[in-house]
Symmetry: C2
DNA sequence: ATACGTGCAAAGTATTTGCAAACGG
DNA sequence: CCGTTTGCAAATACTTTGCACGTAT
């Protein structure tokens, strides 16, 4: 596989930011909340609730999947994670960064792989379009469907 | 509300195109297939399977929801309709036009309304990005989340 | 007439909710 | 200590599948 993946994990700055937000809102950050945030902070790309659940369990943590969903939902409402809908009836989630470092996804309809990418000019157009609609755009979710670089060669 | 909505229904050219495709593939276009295509052809924006089902029933047609899903799935695979994932675990569908007239969606997280829009420059950027990924992009699905023009005024 | 297509009902997934026990502050 | 948070299990919502009947060709 090709790819100069995203250099690093999502960065621990995000984790700090989330914990601070929790503290600020008076939420406790014990068990499930903490481990979900920790796991998300280590990811380079989006995960489904089930994947998060499985990894936490594999790591020996005794979380319930309901808690995973609850935490993700809460984080999404606080705009600390971005819901990514790649289709197939499954929601995926990833850390939402305050400033930039925003990325989108290409879903290979052939092999199912999800590839992340970012593009500054595209971002600029998205901003412009949002404004021109007179709406207050809080987030955008772009998914390209098709055959990924590998599959389209075959 | 602002907006120079889409001028007209989706255009009957699409319906013809679909029926021709069916004929070409040797598919029969009797009952459910025909009415789902007919309904989709009249729409300006995406509908969920349930909405399609309800409208057909309201119109006196005795279709089953399973057939609606089957037809939509088939049309999607033939690239005659575009699946639109606006989140909330529900898939929506709309006629996919061969050449242009492509649009995207803004979902108001406040009132739930879905607003369609199109933008040529954005389209151009999307094309460029798709190519730069080396992938064969068959479709793209862009959803802006936020407060629509109406809701953001309140 | 004969497959293909359809409606119904039952099954399958993803996600949400109710509740008693556990735990952080 | 007390109220939030959690894990479990049951419930819900959307979508898919199995099967016998209807229908276009």
């Amino acid at each position: 596989m090709a790819a100069h993946a995203h250099t690093h994990a999502t960065g621990s700055g995000w984790k700090q930011h989330v914990l601070a937000s929790f503290a600020h809102e008076g939420f406790r950050a014990g068990g499930a909340r903490a481990v979900v945030v920790e796991l998300l902070a280590e990811q380079d790309c989006c995960l489904s609730a089930q994947e998060i659940f499985d990894r936490l369990r594999a790591g020996g943590r005794k979380v319930g999947i309901a808690s995973v969903y609850r935490v993700l939902d809460q984080l999404a409402q606080m705009q600390l994670v971005q819901r990514v809908d790649v289709g197939g009836g499954v929601s995926r989630f990833e850390a939402a960064h305050p400033g930039g470092d925003h990325h989108h996804h290409l879903v290979c309809d052939d092999c199912g792989r999800v590839v992340a990418f970012e593009d500054e000019r595209l971002e600029a157009e998205l901003d412009r379009v949002g404004k021109s609609l007179g709406a207050r755009v809080a987030a955008h979710d772009l998914v390209l469907h098709g055959a990924c670089a590998d599959c389209s060669q075959k």
